[in-house]
């Protein structure tokens, strides 16, 4: 009898517990993401306590912040299902992002790889299928040369272990704190992978540092963090991503990039992103430029369902310079909302922003930019040029170039154009022998020429080719 009673009691307790669990999860707005999950990630990576603390603090901030919905004309984010995120980030669950077999990739992505002529092994690695590939060796060789100079280029997770003091000082503290925006907070909680680059004083890295080579390192892709520290007088060109489409099973990419450009240092950050067309691409990228430093952002935004990306530079030191070059392309069903932000917080600072966007088949591009010149940042100058080209009447292009000028002794230049591909222009080229498609391709290539001519040649070629492929409309 007594044992029967005990059974009853136990059942009772379990039932009550289960009920309680249900109730508590129903109260949470983001029921998918819990402290437990974050602890698991951190533990799996064997992270120091402070990193776990940062992740947990970021998680709390993420939960407190509302989804951004009040920006004028912003992309619709209602389909970002954060409840679904857990299976893709928890190390104890096997089904992380990506697919296991090449054949499981959507056909349009397989197609693009084929058309770009990317070798089989790289295709698999880049698309998230399969393991490491031969380029790892190339990367290894480069790394040895850099190490002699004291340059560090490694996986962000490894940097937490091996360069703990530097990472602790710079990681999401002064440049992109998690409180910056909801997705920065999310990123701070669940970040994984990415690159750490450290260039010592007066050192020039004479070859672009490419994340391309190690795209398939663990935790690749979706929530990677990049931290670049260029000490005084140093110089480095970092290239992220490549034109090959990146397939992600979970539909959110939320990367974080922090760049520290110390006195008289020079950093160029180039990226071409081509996310699969189910992806929401919401990134936070920011640089801080000290006295006499130069920061350059080169961004090509292709692919994705919606992108919100506004690389920012804080011109903190006297005489610091920023250059932004952005190209965006939106096809059917895509909403590409990109731009640039520059804060002139010191005298004699200079910024130039050049943006070109192309919208086709009902796609939408928006240039959203902010130039802020603080009171006292005298003799600063800024030049903003944003041009948008539309293929047809179904497509939309907007420009929202905000200016906040609090100082009177400044030089501000701004130019914006929005236009449609002219029928007369197309006919002119057709009358010379080009067919309708080639005529339009030529007009688009000419439209982005001022930008592509500033890119490294192989990059320009890749970008042109990708835009051509997109225009053929054969990629779905």
């Amino acid at each position: 009898m007594s044992s029967e009673q005990e059974d009853l009691k136990e059942t009772d307790t379990e039932e009550r517990f289960a009920f309680k669990k249900e109730e508590s999860s129903a109260f949470k707005t983001e029921k998918g993401l819990t402290e437990e999950t974050i602890r698991l990630i951190s533990e799996d990576k064997d992270e120091p306590e402070w990193m776990l603390e940062r992740r947990l603090r970021a998680l709390r901030q993420f939960k407190e912040m509302p989804m951004p919905t009040d920006w004028p004309g912003q992309p619709d984010l209602s389909e970002v299902d954060l409840d679904e995120i857990v299976p893709y980030i928890r190390p104890d669950i096997d089904t992380r992002g990506g697919v296991d077999e090449w054949d499981d990739l959507p056909e349009d992505i397989q197609d693009t790889f084929d058309k770009l002529g990317i070798p089989e092994a790289e295709k698999k690695a880049l698309s998230g299928v399969g393991a490491q590939y031969e380029s790892e060796i190339v990367y290894q060789n480069m790394q040895e040369r850099w190490e002699e100079k004291g340059v560090v280029f490694c996986d962000m997770d490894r940097a937490v272990q091996e360069h703990e003091e530097i990472v602790r000082e710079y990681f999401m503290t002064k440049c992109v704190p998690p409180s910056d925006n909801k997705f920065a907070a999310l990123h701070g909680a669940i970040w994984s992978g990415g690159s750490f680059v450290y260039v010592p004083e007066d050192t020039t890295v004479d070859m672009p540092v490419q994340a391309y080579f190690r795209m398939n390192s663990e935790g690749m892709g979706q929530f990677e963090h990049t931290l670049i520290i260029a000490e005084p007088g140093s110089e480095v060109h970092y290239i992220e991503g490549c034109s090959a489409p990146q397939y992600a099973a979970f539909n959110l990419h939320s990367g974080g990039v922090e760049v520290f450009v110390k006195e008289d240092a020079h950093v160029q950050y180039s990226t071409v992103q081509n996310w699969s067309k189910n992806t929401y691409n919401l990134n936070t990228k920011r640089a801080i430029a000290e006295n006499g430093a130069t920061m350059e952002w080169v961004s090509g935004s292709m692919g994705s369902k919606a992108t919100m990306l506004y690389p920012s530079t804080i011109l903190k030191g006297r005489g610091a310079t920023d250059n932004h070059i952005t190209i965006a392309f939106a096809g059917e069903g895509q909403d590409i909302d990109t731009g640039a932000k520059v804060y002139h917080n010191a005298p004699n600072t200079k910024s130039t922003i050049e943006s070109k966007s192309i919208a086709k088949d009902g796609g939408r591009t928006n240039y959203r930019g902010l130039v802020h010149i603080a009171d006292g940042a005298e003799n600063s100058s800024t030049s903003v040029e944003c041009d948008a080209l539309m293929f047809d009447n179904d497509s939309t292009s907007d420009t929202m170039p905000y200016m906040e000028i609090q100082e009177s002794k400044v030089d501000v230049a701004h130019e914006a154009t929005v236009g449609k591909i002219g029928d007369e222009d197309v006919f002119y080229l057709q009358s010379r022998g080009l067919d309708d498609d080639d005529a339009k391709k030529m007009i688009v290539a000419g439209f982005i020429e001022p930008i592509t001519e500033e890119l490294p040649i192989e990059y320009a070629v890749e970008l042109n080719r990708l835009i051509e492929l997109e225009m053929e409309g054969s990629l779905g």
């Binding site: 010379r432 067919d435 000419g446």
Partner: protein, 300 residues
């Protein structure tokens, strides 16, 4: 020897059926001939040029535009059943491939595309399109049955392409002929060109693309006397060097001092109402278009 034949051509503005511009044009131009097409403003001269080239803003409601080829125009002999083309069935670029060229009154400005890149692309596109037009359909069918996209005899598409170096030679030659500055080649297509430079460029493009029939719409307007001379040299060379037929649309007698036409046509209210030799142009200069109206309708 190519011959462009326009018969009873009627056309209206595509999105406005009320507006009829061509009311039955008859006109023919052959290789090795220069024809002048004259007439008052609004008589339909420019529309005729655009309709022949395939401009989508106009709809043909009646009539024919035919191109007859002899068979020896291009590198390969043309089979007999491919010598007559109904141009109205073809896309603008297909017409260009067969040798129709339109020199625009207001050429488009294309930023970011260099002249040399544009012209080489156009020349290669023309060759490629021509190859497709003259492909033997039977071969095609056979190839398809055998599981190929195109005839296996055809070889890779790039085979006949004019390379960068080769094209630069071609372009330099043509530019010398027309006394055009070397720097032209690297400028963006018509972008920031003066009115005169644009017209010169239309003639240069014709010289490079070597058309069978070139229609030049008001190629002489807005030119100073030196440039008028250069442009005229170019037009004469088109006939004398390339053997092209030229239909030159103009308001003025002036260019005819440098380019002597074999035939002169006069348009009025959407029709060609008068034809004659070079002396007709002089008569027009003396008597004006009112005289044409009188001759056509009986009274002024």
């Amino acid at each position: 020897m190519a011959r462009l034949e326009i018969r009873n051509l009627h056309a209206e503005v595509a999105d406005d059926e009320e507006e009829t511009i061509l009311e039955g044009v008859d006109l023919a131009v052959e290789s090795d001939e220069i024809h002048a097409l004259m007439g008052p403003n609004g008589s339909g001269k420019s529309t005729l040029a655009k309709v022949v080239a395939g401009h989508p803003a106009y709809r043909v409601t009646e009539g024919e535009v035919t191109l007859h080829l002899d068979g020896d125009e291009f590198d390969e002999p043309i089979p007999e059943d491919k010598r007559t083309w109904d141009l109205l069935d073809l896309e603008p670029n297909e017409r260009a491939a067969l040798g129709i060229y339109l020199g625009f009154q207001y050429p488009a400005e294309i930023e970011g595309v260099t002249m040399v890149n544009f012209l080489r692309t156009a020349l290669n596109a023309k060759f490629e399109e021509r190859e497709e037009l003259f492909e033997d359909e039977e071969d095609e069918e056979e190839a398809e049955e055998a599981g190929y996209d195109t005839s296996p005899m055809e070889g890779p598409a790039d085979e006949g392409e004019v390379g960068v170096a080769q094209f630069q030679e071609i372009l330099r030659g043509k530019m010398e002929l027309l006394d055009i500055d070397d720097r032209f080649a690297d400028r963006y297509l018509n972008a920031g060109f003066s009115g005169g430079e644009k017209k010169q460029n239309e003639v240069l493009q014709a010289a490079v693309l070597e058309p069978e029939i070139a229609i030049l719409d008001e190629i002489d307007s807005g030119l100073d006397i030196d440039r008028l001379r250069d442009v005229s040299t170019g037009i004469n060379a088109l006939r004398d060097e390339e053997g092209s037929g030229v239909l030159m649309i103009t308001h003025y007698q002036r260019i005819l001092d440098y380019v002597e036409p074999d035939r002169v046509h006069v348009m009025l209210d959407g029709q060609v109402v008068m034809e004659g030799g070079p002396d007709l142009a002089e008569k027009l200069e003396d008597k004006g278009y009112d005289w044409v109206r009188e001759e056509t309708y009986g009274t002024a």
